[in-house]
């Protein structure tokens, strides 16, 4: 009964979403604003129905209803409760439902936080979001219904993919989807502006905080995903350039470009058409990512169930959504382009370089992800593009980006003098080179050039960011008052840029200084790396709720003192009979000690992998700092104050754009 209720709620959600997107069209034709306004309650009702459907699916998991196909394939009576809840989004159908729920959640948020938008514009935004919801509900109901019954019902479930039975996976997909789907807001704002044929400064002011919030979620989601892959996959790697990772990374790069381009549009009124295009691209890449992951056109380590019929549906949906947005762009961009003029040497130029680099970076990731597909489509054989391609293309781009990142915040809008900037940048330049050289020598690493480059650029970003802060605070009478009076937007930028520096340090040092050893250890054997002594004392059986584990014990000592006890496990999940490696990690601010159990080699000896990973935490710390920067920026005072006086003016302006044209 509960699954049928969920199914019914899903159909109602589809119908309300259709109402939400069609009513404004009708209201527009009749030019009756009160009809169009019905889109708002429709959007809220859609959220309620979608939430109900989601609750029904969760109930089916919690109550172990194995007569539902999706539950029977992804759960098991031995599965602990918290994993039964997170199993709701553990596979294709349920994660789509989560997608749709989050999308309707964002729509409801827009209905509540857009009261000061002109009504016509607000309704258009909600209608665009409704159209996208319709696509996802249809996709679910036609090709991937999570509520399909299994007749006769299964006695026992198949169990959740053991890789996903992990704390990180409870949080990672919701975060990532919040980011992915959140990009629908700037997209809808852009499309609504194109329909109206007007793009005034108010548009950027509305779009910017939404973009930053989506970006914060995306940043957190990617950071969590990287951390999860590090400890769960048991290879000690933190980024694999896997198509699924790339699918989330491309929208992130685009959203980062969008945030910076919005800054220019808001402050200077320049780059308007470009900003609109970026807003379209960012969400398009989210959809493309969904297509790549769900359709099975690419093989990935994150093996989701794939099906060509689903692929075809998403492709048509993608073509429709992105195609119509780009047609609209082609028709209307002329009308919204233009704006502030600026000199060659100005902050605008540097932000333009930033944008171009980020877009090129996203395009190169896209190319690398699709390249195997391109060759295959042209009948040139099957190949896979691995980390070597991505690293050799990506690293130089990032280094240039870091160089520009340092200069940008110190440069003036519109027009600056190179001599002023040269004087200003002299000290950070010297400081970062000295710091880079000293730290490189101190790190005693192989591959000197790479470490030197990484550390110099990280120090450069840190030094220039600090300088920008000093310059800003200097304007005030006392430094303390200056610090306290800093706008949150500026503080946010500073924190996020420092986060980038911290991440670069982490990536550089982890890549250059990590030691990893594959060993054959018998009980009592010891092995030393980087001054740490690893002592293996054997493996014992240790049963789990739905798996059998073999649990190793390794004691780590340093100059006779015990540092950590590591218990790496090798698990065999009973229902799927899939073996899993559970690595044991002793985390630290400047280093991680990591042990993973390989295979039994006989006589009590085991293949054991041990790693010493210096500064690996800094990678995720950098990600967290970036997200924190975003949170600070979005709580800036200017977003907290409602811009009431905008309302009347923009309303009249937008109303003059004929609504029926859209």
């Amino acid at each position: 009964m509960i699954p049928e209720l969920g199914h019914f709620a899903l159909i109602l959600a589809l119908l309300t979403a259709a109402t939400q997107s069609l009513i404004p069209l009708f209201g527009g034709l009749k030019r009756t604003a009160n009809v169009s306004a019905a889109a708002v309650p429709a959007a809220r009702a859609q959220f309620v129905f979608c939430l109900l459907a989601f609750a029904c699916l969760t109930a089916a998991f919690v109550l172990q209803d194995f007569s539902v196909t999706y539950v029977a394939t992804n759960s098991n009576s031995a599965l602990p409760l918290h994993y039964r809840v997170s199993a709701v989004w553990g596979a294709h159908e349920g994660s789509l439902l989560l997608w749709a729920l989050i999308l309707s959640g964002w729509t409801v948020a827009v209905t509540f936080f857009s009261r000061n938008l002109p009504d016509v514009f607000r309704v258009r935004v909600i209608a665009v979001m409704g159209a996208i919801s319709v696509g996802f509900y249809l996709f679910m109901l036609l090709t991937s219904n999570p509520f399909s019954r299994l007749l006769p019902s299964a006695v026992e479930g198949n169990d959740l993919n053991p890789l996903l039975q992990d704390f990180g996976l409870i949080l990672h997909p919701p975060m990532l989807y919040m980011g992915y789907v959140g990009l629908v807001v700037p997209f809808s704002f852009a499309v609504a502006a194109l329909i109206g044929g007007r793009l005034d400064p108010a548009w950027t002011r509305w779009t910017r905080p939404w973009t930053v919030v989506a970006w914060v979620f995306l940043t957190l989601g990617i950071t969590l995903g990287s951390w999860w892959a590090y400890y769960e996959l048991g290879w000690g790697g933190w980024w694999f350039w896997d198509p699924v990772e790339n699918a989330s990374f491309m929208p992130w790069l685009m959203a980062t470009a969008l945030i910076h381009s919005l800054a220019v549009s808001e402050q200077r009124g320049a780059f308007k058409a470009w900003t609109v295009l970026l807003a379209i691209f960012a969400f398009s890449l989210s959809l493309l990512g969904t297509f790549l992951v769900r359709s099975g056109v690419l093989v990935s380590v994150h093996a989701f169930a794939t099906d060509p019929a689903r692929g075809l549906f998403i492709l048509m949906f993608l073509a429709l959504v992105v195609g119509s947005a780009l047609v609209l762009f082609a028709l209307r961009a002329q009308a919204v382009s233009g704006g502030g003029r600026f000199d060659l040497f100005s902050r605008e130029t540097l932000l333009l370089i930033n944008n171009v680099l980020l877009v090129v970076a996203a395009a190169s990731v896209l190319l690398g992800t699709l390249y195997p597909l391109i060759l295959d489509a042209m009948g040139l054989g099957k190949i896979s593009v691995g980390p070597p391609y991505f690293n050799s293309v990506f690293v130089p781009l990032v280094l240039v980006l870091l160089a520009v990142l340092g200069i940008g915040p110190l440069t003036r809008w519109k027009k600056d003098r190179s001599r002023r900037l040269a004087t200003l940048l002299r000290w950070p330049l010297i400081a970062s080179i000295v710091a880079g050289v000293v730290l490189t020598v101190a790190s005693d690493a192989e591959g000197l050039a790479a470490v030197l480059a990484g550390l110099v650029f990280a120090a450069w970003v840190a030094a220039t960011t600090a300088l920008a802060l000093v310059e800003r605070v200097k304007l005030r009478t006392s430094p303390l008052a200056g610090l306290l009076r800093l706008p949150r937007g500026f503080t946010g930028m500073t924190v996020a840029h420092l986060g980038a520096a911290v991440m670069v340090v982490g990536i550089t040092l982890t890549t250059a200084l990590s030691t990893e050893k594959d060993l054959r250890l018998s009980p009592g054997d010891t092995y030393a790396i980087a001054g740490y002594e690893f002592r293996f004392s054997g493996v014992r059986q240790s049963p789990g709720p739905n798996y059998r584990a073999q649990r190793g014990h390794i004691e780590v000592t340093r100059s006779g003192k015990t540092i950590a006890q590591l218990f790496p496990e090798k698990r065999l999940y009973l229902n799927s009979s899939s073996p899993m490696t559970e690595a044991a990690i002793d985390p630290g601010f400047t280093r991680d000690l990591y042990a993973a159990l390989g295979d039994e080699l006989g006589d009590g000896a085991w293949a054991v992998r041990i790693y010493h990973k210096p500064f690996v935490r800094w990678i995720w710390l950098g990600g967290l700092l970036m997200a924190l920067g975003g949170i600070l920026a979005v709580t800036d005072r200017r977003y907290r104050i409602m811009v009431r006086n905008e309302r009347g003016r923009s309303d009249r302006a937008l109303a003059s754009g004929a609504f029926a044209e859209g």
Binding site: A273, L277, S295, L312, L315, F329, A330, A377, D599, L601
Partner: protein, 177 residues
């Protein structure tokens, strides 16, 4: 206006590409060895170091070549399936014991049953490299001419055997008779 249509043009190209991509199956990673003769090898057998197993022996009738090792957990899951196939006489199975310890391997065959006509002993993995083994277990179907017809990566269960592999074995048998 033309320059604003550039993104649309690029996007349409991308859609065409993705559409073509949908018609392809990336999971069928063809082994470069499929439709090629079985690479030459000559190995001592697991049970008797004096006896040899060579590629020549696999000619003349359709057979399976199963790559296995005692350190491989999925092999342990797959083993009863192989024993069942041998018992029912559905196929002739040769083994390639990969990077393993002889004593362990003998012990495995004695306790779990020996479905293999013979198992080649390849402790260094040299023959495995020629066969393009990149994960254990792997199973090759070899026709009467000694040509590799199919390669299955990873363990297989009764269902995969009945639905995928057995029909291929039967087809190869019809072709050669």
């Amino acid at each position: 206006m033309p320059r604003f249509t550039v993104p649309l043009g690029i996007f349409l190209l991308l859609v065409v590409l993705l559409g073509v991509g949908l018609t392809l199956n990336p999971r069928l990673v063809p082994s470069p060895l499929v439709d090629k003769p079985l690479p030459a090898f000559e190995l001592p057998t697991v049970l008797d170091p004096e006896q040899r197993l060579s590629h020549d022996e696999l000619r003349g009738r359709v057979s399976l070549l199963n790559v296995w090792a005692t350190w491989c957990v999925p092999c342990r899951e797959e083993h009863p399936v192989l024993v069942g196939i041998a018992r029912r006489g559905e196929a002739i199975i040769y083994g390639l014991n990969y990077k393993d310890d002889r004593e362990e391997a003998v012990n495995w065959l004695e306790t779990l049953g020996d479905p293999y006509v013979k198992s080649g002993f390849d402790p260094t993995g040299r023959a495995g490299i020629d066969l393009g083994v990149y994960g254990v277990p792997e199973t090759f179907i070899i026709d009467a001419n000694g040509t590799i017809v199919y390669k299955h990566i990873g363990p297989f269960d009764d269902k995969i055997w009945r639905e995928t592999l057995l029909p291929l074995v039967k087809k190869a048998q019809e072709n050669s008779s």
